[in-house]
C-alpha cells in the first residue's frame, strides 16, 4: 500500500464517536467541535492546494500567451514581407514599404555603445564594493545610490536627457564638426549607459565577494600587489559572472523604450554615424503603434516586438544560466 499520496479521503472510522474515548463530557464537546471543524478545514485545504497549482500554471500560460499573441499578430507581416523584412533597408509606411534594418541597426548601435561606455564604470563599482571596501558607511552609501539609479523612471531620464544632455551633446557635436542635432544615437547611448550601470555592478559585486579568500591569500603570499591579485585571481575567477552581469545590462538596454524614444530623434532612415538621429525597435513601436492604420503596418511593428521579445529572452536566459552555474560551483 503506497500511502504517500494524500487523497484527503475520510473513512468511516473517522466519525467523531470513535474518537471519543474515556474523557470528561467537557472534553467530548470540545473534541466533537474540533472534528466538525476539521472536516471543513480538509475541504479548504484541498481547494487551497489546487489554487496554488493553478497559480503556477497561470505563470506558464502568461508567458506562452505573450509569445503566442506576438506570433499570431505578426503573421500578416511575416506572410506579406517574408524574412527579408528584417534586412530591408527602407521603412516608408506611406508607400507600404517596410524594412526593419534601420531599427535593428539603431538598437544594436545604441545598446552596444551604451554597454561600452558603462562597462568601465560598472566594473569599477563592482571591484570597489566587492574587493576594496566591502563594508563601511561610504561604500554602503555608494551601493544604495547606485541601486537607486535603477529606480529612477525611464521617462525622467528621457526628460532630463532632452533638457540637459542633448544641448551639451549638440555643443560637443559643433566642436567636432558633425551636424549639430543633439538628439540621436549618441545621446541615447549616454542615457542608456547610466541606466544600465546598476545591473552589471550589483551582480559583479556579489560575484567578486564570492571569490574564496584562500585563492587570494595564495597570491598575496607570493608577494603580489593588490592590483595583481585583482587582475590575476579575482577577475579571472569571476569573469563568467561579470559577463552575465553585462548580458543582463545588455538585455535592459535593448528593451529600454521611453528614455531612448525621447532623445534618439525618431527618424526611420539608416543612421550615417553614431551622432545621427535614428530609431530603435522599441522606440519605433512606441511612436507609431497607435498611428498604424494598415494591417501590415501594425503587424510589422508587432513583428519588431516579437524579435525584441525573443532576443531579450535569449540574452536573459544565457545570463541566468551562467549565474546559476557560477553560484552552484
Amino acid at each position: 500500500m503506497d500511502t504517500s499520496v494524500d487523497n484527503g479521503s475520510i473513512t468511516r472510522s473517522d466519525t467523531p464517536l470513535r474518537v471519543i474515548n474515556s474523557k470528561t463530557p467537557e472534553a467530548i464537546v470540545k473534541t466533537t467541535q474540533r472534528i466538525r471543524r476539521s472536516f471543513r478545514q480538509i475541504r479548504t485545504e484541498n481547494v487551497f492546494k489546487k489554487t496554488l497549482v493553478i497559480m503556477g500554471i497561470i505563470m506558464v500560460l502568461l508567458v506562452l500567451g505573450i509569445l503566442l499573441t506576438l506570433i499570431v499578430q505578426s503573421l500578416p507581416s511575416i506572410k506579406a514581407l517574408g524574412p527579408k523584412y528584417l534586412w530591408s533597408r527602407v521603412w516608408d509606411p506611406v508607400q507600404d514599404i517596410y524594412g526593419a534594418w534601420p531599427f535593428l541597426l539603431g538598437t544594436l548601435l545604441s545598446s552596444f555603445l551604451a554597454l561600452i561606455i558603462s562597462i568601465p564604470f560598472s566594473i569599477a563599482v563592482a571591484i570597489f564594493l566587492g574587493e576594496y571596501h566591502p563594508s563601511g558607511w561610504l561604500p554602503n552609501l555608494l551601493k544604495n545610490t547606485v541601486e537607486l539609479i535603477a529606480a529612477v523612471p525611464s521617462v525622467i531620464y528621457g526628460f532630463w536627457g532632452l533638457a540637459v544632455l542633448v544641448p551639451i551633446v549638440r555643443n560637443f557635436e559643433t566642436h567636432i564638426g558633425v551636424e549639430p542635432v543633439g538628439v540621436g544615437i549618441f545621446s541615447s547611448s549616454l542615457i542608456l549607459a547610466v541606466m544600465i550601470i546598476p545591473y552589471a555592478a550589483s551582480l559583479g559585486r556579489s560575484m567578486i565577494q564570492m571569490v574564496p579568500s584562500p585563492l587570494k591569500e595564495a597570491a598575496y603570499g607570493l608577494g603580489a600587489t593588490r592590483w595583481e591579485v585583482i587582475r590575476s585571481v579575482v577577475l579571472p575567477y569571476t569573469k563568467s559572472g561579470l559577463f552575465a552581469g553585462i548580458l543582463l545590462s545588455l538585455g535592459r538596454a535593448l528593451g529600454e523604450t521611453m528614455a531612448v524614444t525621447m532623445v534618439i530623434g525618431n527618424t526611420s532612415i539608416i543612421p550615417k554615424n553614431i551622432f545621427a538621429p535614428g530609431n530603435t525597435m522599441a522606440s519605433v513601436i512606441a511612436n507609431e503603434f497607435t498611428e498604424a492604420d494598415k494591417a501590415v503596418y501594425l503587424s510589422a511593428l508587432i513583428e519588431l516586438g516579437l524579435v525584441l521579445f525573443l532576443v531579450t529572452v535569449v540574452i536573459n536566459m544565457i545570463g541566468k544560466k551562467i549565474i546559476d552555474r557560477f553560484t552552484n560551483e
Partner: protein, 282 residues
C-alpha cells in the same frame, strides 16, 4: 629582487585603486545631476493649485496634474489588486514545490517575464484587453502593469519563504493544522516583511512605467475615475508634455517629474530601510 620594480608595482597597484575609486564614484554624478536639476526645475512649479487642478489648454498659464495623480493612483491600486494575490500565491507554490516539473516551468516563466521589455507587455495588453473591449482603458493599463509586478512579487515571496526554517512548518503540521492554515497563519506572518518589501519594490517599479501605458491607459486630459475609460498617469503626462513644444507644458512636466521622482525614491528608500530593519534578504 629589484627594489625599483617592486616600487613600480606598488605604485601601479595604488594607481588602479585610485582609478577604480574615481570611476565608481563617478557613477553617482548623473543621479545627483538629475536629482539636482529636477528639484531645481520642479520645486517652483509645485503648489496646492498644481496638485488639485487639471492641465489647462496651451496658452493659458497655470493648470495642474490632478488627473495624472489620481489616474496613477487608481491604475497602480488596480494593478496591485490583480498582481499581489496571484504573485504571492505563485511564490508560495514555488517555495512549497521545489522540484516538480510544473515548478521548473513556472520558475522559468517568471525569469522570462522579468526580462520582457515593457513595450512588449504594452502590445500584448493591447490585444488582450483594448481590442476586445473596444477602446483604451485604465483597466488594460493596470493589467499590463500587473504583469510587470508579478515576477518581482513571486521571486521575493519565494526567496523569503525558502529561507524560513522547516522546523516552523513542522511545528505547525504537528499541531494538526491543515496546509492552508500552516501557510497563512504561520509561514506568511513570519515572512511578511520580505513579501511586503517585494510588493513595495514592484509598486516602485511600475510607478514610473510609461511604455506599457502608451497603448492601454492612453492618457486623458480630464479627470477620470472610470477604469473602463482612458486615464492619465504621471509618467504618461511627463512623456506627452516633455515632448511637446510648449513651455507651459514643460513646466507642468517638470513639476510632475519631481513628484514622480520623490514618490519612487521614497518607496525605494523606505523598502530598503524595512528590509534592513527586518534583516530580509532579497
Amino acid at each position: 629582487m629589484n627594489i625599483g620594480s617592486v616600487k613600480y608595482r606598488i605604485g601601479k597597484s595604488y594607481g588602479f585603486q585610485i582609478l577604480t575609486t574615481v570611476l565608481a564614484f563617478a557613477c553617482v554624478i548623473p543621479l545627483l545631476a538629475i536629482l539636482f536639476f529636477i528639484i531645481k526645475a520642479g520645486i517652483t512649479k509645485i503648489n496646492w493649485h498644481f496638485l488639485v487642478n487639471v492641465p489647462k489648454p496651451v496658452g493659458e498659464a497655470g493648470g495642474g496634474i490632478a488627473n495624472a495623480l489620481v489616474g496613477s493612483i487608481i491604475i497602480i491600486v488596480v494593478a496591485s489588486i490583480i498582481a499581489v494575490p496571484i504573485g504571492i500565491l505563485a511564490g508560495i507554490y514555488l517555495s512549497e514545490n521545489r522540484k516538480s516539473r510544473l515548478a521548473y516551468w513556472c520558475r522559468l516563466s517568471v525569469d522570462i517575464l522579468q526580462g520582457v521589455p515593457s513595450i512588449v507587455i504594452g502590445i500584448v495588453a493591447y490585444f488582450w484587453l483594448v481590442k476586445p473591449l473596444g477602446g483604451f482603458s485604465a483597466l488594460s493599463g493596470s493589467v499590463a502593469l500587473a504583469i510587470m509586478m508579478l515576477p518581482i512579487i513571486v521571486r521575493s515571496t519565494e526567496e523569503t519563504l525558502k529561507l524560513l526554517p522547516d522546523s516552523l512548518k513542522e511545528a505547525a503540521f504537528a499541531l494538526g493544522m491543515p496546509f492552508h492554515r500552516v501557510i497563512f497563519k504561520v509561514i506568511v506572518p513570519v515572512g511578511i516583511s520580505g513579501i511586503l518589501s517585494g510588493v513595495m519594490l514592484s509598486v516602485a517599479r511600475i510607478t514610473g512605467e510609461t511604455a506599457p501605458l502608451l497603448f492601454t491607459a492612453f492618457g486623458n486630459p480630464y479627470l477620470s475615475t472610470n477604469i473602463t475609460k482612458p486615464m492619465h498617469s504621471l509618467p504618461l503626462l511627463i512623456f506627452n508634455y516633455a515632448t511637446s513644444p510648449y513651455n507651459d507644458w514643460h513646466d507642468l512636466a517638470w513639476g510632475a517629474s519631481l513628484i514622480l521622482l520623490l514618490w519612487v525614491l521614497f518607496l525605494n528608500i523606505f523598502t530598503k530601510l524595512i528590509t534592513r530593519k527586518w534583516k530580509v534578504q532579497l
